[in-house]
């Protein structure tokens, strides 16, 4: 199943998500994180997209996973954060 969302991060930038997910077990097949935010280093977003594959579409699990990737790779987001990103992904299900 493929779905898209557009979500303005509170006090941040416009996030656009394109999500492919497995309805049978509610996990991410692939996700594209797009928008006018900033990330340092930029390449880390591609890494984050890879790390999110097979992750459950559940807010707490997503936030925890995103934060662990941010921490492990020393990523700095500007105009985006773990909670906003999780919300943007979950909006694809609405």
């Amino acid at each position: 199943m493929n779905s898209k969302s557009v979500y303005k991060i509170p006090n941040g930038k416009l996030l656009k998500i394109s999500l492919d997910y497995d309805e049978s077990n509610s996990t991410i097949s692939s996700v594209k994180i797009m928008g006018d935010f900033f990330a340092y280093p930029e390449e880390a977003v591609e890494l984050l997209e890879n790390e999110l594959k097979k992750i459950q579409l559940n807010k707490d699990i997503l936030v925890k996973k995103i934060n662990s990737v941010i921490l492990a790779n020393n990523i700095e987001f500007i105009g985006l954060n773990a909670e906003g990103l999780a919300d943007g992904i979950l909006r694809c299900l609405e």
Binding site: K32, G35, D36, F37, F38, Y40, I78, G79
Partner: protein, 254 residues
């Protein structure tokens, strides 16, 4: 005695070439081959640049670009889509470790935007920094800015609008829904301004550049010494233009 940085003017270049030069200067600076550099430039043909994380086909009407002869390119910096026509674009490339550059990214945006604000003041325009990455005057945006840090080097580039054609800009950008195009145009007209609008007079690129040059010199207490790209930078520029910014794989990668 003030530190000497290099000052470059490279006018009327293609979108791919403009972005390739910024990246080439970043690489050369990271290798210690050239001093910190401030560059002012323009785009010919006019062009849309999109942020690193944006989808080209979702943000830009490529058919309209082709019809109007407007170029396009994906930047290495984040941020949003920008239509570059009647503007001064600047870039600054400097080691992350330089004492004039705050370690904190948001602080460094503010510092570099300070140079642009000095430049505007030299044109009798009062402005202020509006985080995350804008400069506003009279409550409206006059400059957008984007920074990346690679190879322990800071690259920040941004626009200073000399004039702006919001209708043309919107005819080139995709909007989520055609019904709201007019509303978006009127909203953006309320939020964007230009030197021409604020001064009620046209200002040449040369005059704007002279004002901005002084603005950077004042902010960083430096002398900007006119120079040109080195042979090494030109070689890198050609490589990046061919392999990256002039390449569909790069521009369409999202």
């Amino acid at each position: 005695m003030s530190e000497k940085w290099r000052y470059l003017i490279t006018n009327n270049l293609s979108a791919a070439r403009n972005m390739a030069i910024d990246r080439a200067v970043l690489v050369a600076n990271s290798e210690g081959k050239i001093p910190p550099t401030v560059r002012f430039y323009t785009w010919s043909p006019p062009a849309i640049s999109i942020g690193y994380f944006q989808s080209l086909s979702e943000e830009v009407d490529l058919e309209k670009c082709a019809n109007l002869g407007v170029d396009y390119v994906r930047r290495i910096t984040g941020g949003g889509a920008v239509f570059h026509e009647d503007e001064l674009t600047y870039s600054i490339i400097i080691p992350e470790s330089h004492p004039e550059i705050p370690k904190n990214i948001m602080d460094s945006y503010a510092r570099i935007c300070g140079a642009v604000m000095n430049g505007l003041k030299n044109l009798e325009i009062e402005s202020s920094y509006a985080p995350i990455n804008d400069i506003i005057s009279g409550g409206k945006k006059i400059s957008g800015n984007a920074q990346t840090r690679k190879l322990k080097t800071v690259l920040q580039h941004g626009t200073v609008l000399i004039d702006v054609d919001v209708e043309k800009m919107f005819s080139l950008l995709r909007v989520p829904n055609e019904k709201i195009r007019d509303k978006m145009i009127s909203d953006v007209k309320q939020r964007v301004t230009s030197i021409k609008h604020l001064l009620d007079d046209s200002v040449s690129f040369d005059k704007a550049a002279a004002a901005m040059k002084n603005g950077f010199e004042e902010e960083f207490n430096i002398d900007l010494v006119p120079g040109s790209l080195t042979d090494y930078e030109l070689k890198l520029t050609e490589k990046f233009e061919k392999e990256c910014f002039g390449n569909d794989d790069w521009n369409h990668k999202r």
